[in-house]
Symmetry: none
Subunit: 202 residues, 4 copies
């Protein structure tokens, strides 16, 4: 999953990397950002190429279709998610970890105001497409829910699965409302309520 955002296809030699450092990664990163900002359907390949400072015709050397670029963006999200989880796991208690997660969400409230949750909006749009990208996106979403479930479980909650879904649902919903009403306060207030809720679970 992280492989596909690492380098060009084929045997990765130092020479290749030296010649074109991270052109593929740049495209994946640009795709991730632009797809969030403009939405999947409104984003053209030219948009992504421009954002990555890669000539349009060259994009197809790295990604054969637009779908593959979307897939790369999903993978980029997965990679970032992995890093985030690794960082959270360094904290002591599950409560701390969950509240740190929530804190991260609230910290990104300005992005939510403008474009909503980077991954939620993606899932929402991908559902309308015939390709199987929505399944891949679901898998990535599942990673975080499973992680949260583990936290709730280690807090001794028998309904850990339901709590994890509730946490993620509330986050997705508050991101959507924050975006709809262009109001960062929604993130702040609901984030605080979520943290209190975590504390109340014992």
């Amino acid at each position: 999953m992280t492989d596909s955002v690492a380098g060009p296809p084929g045997p990765i030699s130092d020479a290749t990397v030296a010649r074109r450092p991270g052109k593929r990664a740049r495209l994946a990163a640009a795709a991730s950002r632009v797809l969030h900002e403009r939405g999947v359907e409104r984003t053209t390949l030219a948009d992504i190429a421009r954002a990555a400072d890669v000539p349009v015709g060259n994009v197809y050397y790295y990604f054969k279709t637009k779908d593959e670029l979307v897939q790369a963006a999903i993978d980029a999200h997965a990679a970032r998610l992995g890093e985030m989880i690794a960082a959270l796991d360094r904290l002591r208690t599950p409560q701390e970890r969950l509240k740190a997660l929530i804190g991260g969400w609230v910290g990104q409230r300005d992005l939510a105001v403008r474009y909503g949750c980077p991954f939620g909006t993606l899932c929402s749009e991908l559902d309308k497409r015939a390709d199987g990208l929505d399944r891949t996106a679901a898998e990535v979403m599942r990673i975080l829910i499973d992680w949260a479930e583990r936290q709730f479980r280690s807090m001794g909650r028998a309904d850990a699965g339901e709590l994890a879904v509730q946490l993620m649902a509330t986050y997705q919903g508050m991101s959507l409302l924050t975006n709809t009403f262009r109001d960062p306060e929604i993130m702040t207030v609901q984030g605080r309520r979520l943290a209190d809720w975590i504390d109340s679970l014992g």
Copy 2:
């Protein structure tokens, strides 16, 4: 707001309605449905015309642009929302009303599985567009939040506003997850949790 889904343009006489019963309304209804199913960007005017069984060229007699059709779909949502609220208001206590609202959401879980919340996905997509449709959609979303706030207030809650946002956010998020994971159980389970939460508020 209901006007635009009622009849053809110009003065609406009985004769007119008798001659062409609800072609405009049919288009608005079709727009509402198809936009939900396929998403705003992927829906073509031909799609809507076909769904309403109206020749493509004729659509423009009723709606001058695609945007106006989207607006009509928003208005249709607003109208349905108005009816729903009127029905809910016939119930005795705010708790009953809120739980009836939640029950309605859960009852529509199969739709959520396939396409997500009809209005949330619309808001999410409209945000990416330059036109002002997202503002109109926000107003409609506001209506239900304000209604919920009134219920919480009449339950004596000082934090009624925050509770209303939380309720709506959770609904939006659980719809999104239901859609993403194609799992109606999410609606059932989270709906039950929401109802319990209402009861717990006293």
Copy 3:
């Protein structure tokens, strides 16, 4: 030629005229004006119908095609031209008549600034069309040139025909430049030069 702007088709009874006084004439007048302002190709039947305050569907009772409306506008020009010539003919000398003609042109300079010569722009556009309307327009243009030729002839000029063409050409050209540069002064200055030229011819 004037007949076609007078009344509805079929036997013209007083009753008919009384019922719908000048609806056809109103359409012809509106066509004449709007075609000048917007140009033939950019003018829609709806534009003309609106300007004449006649329902769109009703236009076809009076004019079966857009071409017929253009023809009616040409006829309206011819009618006005006839009246103008009749008025000019009441003046004493050919010099007076020609200079009155020029004075009339200069008096309409604000219209020329905005839209050019009503008839010249029409001739110019009609030439690009496959229909025979350009021939009709040419006939109308010929009327005024012939009239001018008669004036020059009665001034004793053997080259009356050439002078008439020169007069009309200069008028058409100064109208075009006035319109292109949006400068009414061009009409005033060149009008004065034309008048001086008339005087210089003896």
Copy 4:
């Protein structure tokens, strides 16, 4: 001004020109010709593409809108005008230069018969459009008037400006009448009269 008819977009290298010799220029030339023949409004992009032997979809690689194609046609006129003026300036006296200009007009009388003055008809049509193309066209028209004014001034005429406008107006008008009456003789006769007039100015 000549730039836009020179080559494809982006930095113009010899290699580029070698690879695709003048496709953009071909489109501009085709636009210039077809717009004159059919008029701006009646010319479709497909017409121009066909005349340039370029696939329709490819036109947009060179010109983002139809307006840009019109602009390119204007620029092509400006370029030709520049060449013509350069050639005229090689003649000895202003009288010779002006009469050579008139001679050129008369030499193109067959084109005038069929379609009118290439630039005058353009100015006439562009005036009806909301875009700013009419202003650009006016600038090009101004170039020739200013040049003529310089000739009249170097002939010692204090009213050089008025004379220049008169010259251009007469040309525009005689082109229009030539086109309207489909009579090349008008160009010949009025051209001779213009030449005589130049001589009479001393």
